[in-house]
C-alpha cells in the first residue's frame, strides 16, 4: 500500500468542503466576518492542498497556469469595471447608489460585485505565486 494513502483520501474528502467554505465566507461577508480576501485565500488554499498532495503536474492539469493568470488580472478589471459602470450610469467613480433603482439595493449589488472581483484576484495571485515557487527547479550550487 502506498504510504501516502491517508493523505490522498483525506485530501479528497476535505477539498470540496474547503472550496465550499470559501464560497460561504465570500457570500456571508455581509452578515458576519468574511469577505473577498479571506474567501480568496481559503479558495487558493484548497487548490494548494491539492497540488501538495497529488503533485504539481496533476494540479496544473486541473487548473492550467494560463487560467490562473487570467483570473488574477480579471479581478482587478471587475473592480475597476464596476467603477466605470457607475460613471457610465451617471454617478461618480464607485458610487454604487446609481446601480439600481434604490440606493440601498444599489449599494448591496455594488458590494457584491466588488467583493467578487477581490475574490478572483486574490485567488489568482496566490495560486500564481505558489505555482512559481513550487515549479522552480532546485539548482545544485
Amino acid at each position: 500500500m502506498d504510504d501516502r494513502v491517508i493523505l490522498r483520501v483525506g485530501a479528497k474528502i476535505l477539498i470540496p468542503f474547503i472550496l465550499l467554505f470559501a464560497l460561504y465566507v465570500q457570500f456571508h461577508g455581509d452578515f458576519g466576518p468574511g469577505g473577498g480576501f479571506q474567501a480568496g485565500v481559503i479558495f487558493a488554499a484548497g487548490f494548494i492542498l491539492y497540488a501538495l498532495v497529488y503533485g504539481l503536474g496533476t494540479a496544473k492539469r486541473a487548473l492550467p497556469p494560463t487560467a490562473v493568470y487570467v483570473c488574477a488580472a480579471a479581478g482587478v478589471l471587475i473592480y475597476a469595471g464596476v467603477g466605470y459602470l457607475t460613471m457610465a450610469l451617471g454617478g461618480e467613480f464607485l458610487a454604487y447608489n446609481v446601480l439600481r433603482h434604490d440606493p440601498e439595493h444599489g449599494q448591496e449589488l455594488g458590494i457584491l460585485l466588488v467583493e467578487l472581483g477581490v475574490l478572483v484576484t486574490v485567488f489568482g495571485s496566490m495560486v500564481a505565486i505558489f505555482y512559481a515557487f513550487a515549479g522552480r527547479r532546485k539548482v545544485q550550487t
Binding site: L7, A11, F17, I18, F21, V25, G29, D30, F31, G32, P33, G34, G35, F37, Q38, V41, A44, A45, L49, A51, L52, Y54, G55, L56, G57, T58, R61, Y69, G75, V76, Y79, A80, L94, Y96, P103, E104, Q107, E108, G110, I111, V114, E115, G117, V118, T121, V122, S125, M126, A128, I129, F130, A132, F133, A134, G135, R136, R137, K138, V139, Q140
Partner: protein, 215 residues
C-alpha cells in the same frame, strides 16, 4: 477575565518571538512564525477584530508559511552562527524601543470609550451604515463602500506582487554565472532534469502535510 486571556496571549507571543530569534533551524523558525500568526489571530479576536483575525489566520498561518517552506526547499534549512557579538544592533534596538515607550506615555489608557480615536469618523460610519448601505457588517461596508477606492488600490497591489513574483521565478534558472577574476562569466550547469512528470513536485518533501482552514 478577559484581561487574563489578553495577558496570557501577549506573554505567549513574546516567548514565541524570542524563540524565533534564537532558533537556528529555519524550518523550526518558519513553523514558529506560523504559531506567532495564529496567536496574534487569537489576540485579535479578544480585541473584537473578527475580520482581521480571520484574515491573519488564513494569510499569516496559511499562505505565508507555505511560501516560506517553498523557499526553504529551494535554498536550504539552516542558519550559520553569527560571527561577531551584536552589540550595535542591540544598542539600536534598545534605543528605538526606549523612544517608542516614551512616545506611548502620551497615549490615552487602553479601552477607554472617551479616547479621541472614537469621536471623529467612526461614529458616523457606525450610525449611518445601517441606513445608507444596509449591510450588517460595518467592516465590509467601510471596506467596500466608504473606502472602496483604497480597496481597489489594495487589489492592484496583490496583482502587482503576483506579476513581480512571476517575473522573477516563472522561467527556470538561467545559465549559471560565476565571478572569475572580477568578471561575471557563464559556466555550463550539469544536465538539467527533464520537465516535471505527473507526480513530481520539487517542493513537496518539506511542505506541511495538511492545510486545514475550516477547522
Amino acid at each position: 477575565m478577559i484581561e487574563l486571556v489578553d495577558v496570557a496571549l501577549l506573554l505567549l507571543l513574546s516567548v514565541t518571538a524570542l524563540a524565533i530569534v534564537r532558533q537556528q533551524n529555519l524550518f523550526a523558525a518558519v513553523m514558529m512564525a506560523g504559531i506567532y500568526s495564529v496567536l496574534s489571530a487569537g489576540l485579535f479576536v479578544v480585541m473584537d477584530a473578527v475580520d482581521v483575525a480571520f484574515t491573519e489566520a488564513a494569510v499569516g498561518a496559511g499562505i505565508s508559511t507555505v511560501l516560506m517552506l517553498g523557499t526553504l526547499a529551494l535554498v536550504g534549512h539552516s542558519e550559520h552562527k553569527p560571527k561577531h557579538r551584536p552589540i550595535l544592533p542591540l544598542l539600536v534596538v534598545v534605543l528605538t524601543g526606549g523612544v517608542l515607550v516614551y512616545g506611548t506615555l502620551d497615549m490615552p489608557p487602553f479601552g477607554d470609550p472617551a479616547n479621541p480615536i472614537h469621536h471623529h469618523v467612526a461614529p458616523h460610519y457606525l450610525e449611518e451604515s445601517e441606513h445608507e448601505i444596509g449591510v450588517p457588517n460595518v467592516v465590509t461596508s467601510v471596506l467596500a463602500s466608504y473606502r472602496g477606492y483604497d480597496t481597489m488600490g489594495e487589489t492592484t497591489v496583490i496583482f502587482a506582487a503576483a506579476v513581480g513574483v512571476l517575473l522573477l521565478l516563472a522561467r527556470g534558472p538561467g545559465p549559471r554565472r560565476v565571478l572569475v577574476n572580477g568578471l561575471w562569466t557563464t559556466v555550463a550547469r550539469e544536465e538539467e532534469p527533464p520537465e516535471l512528470e505527473a507526480d513530481e513536485a520539487p517542493a513537496t518533501e518539506d511542505d506541511e502535510p495538511k492545510e486545514d482552514d475550516d477547522g
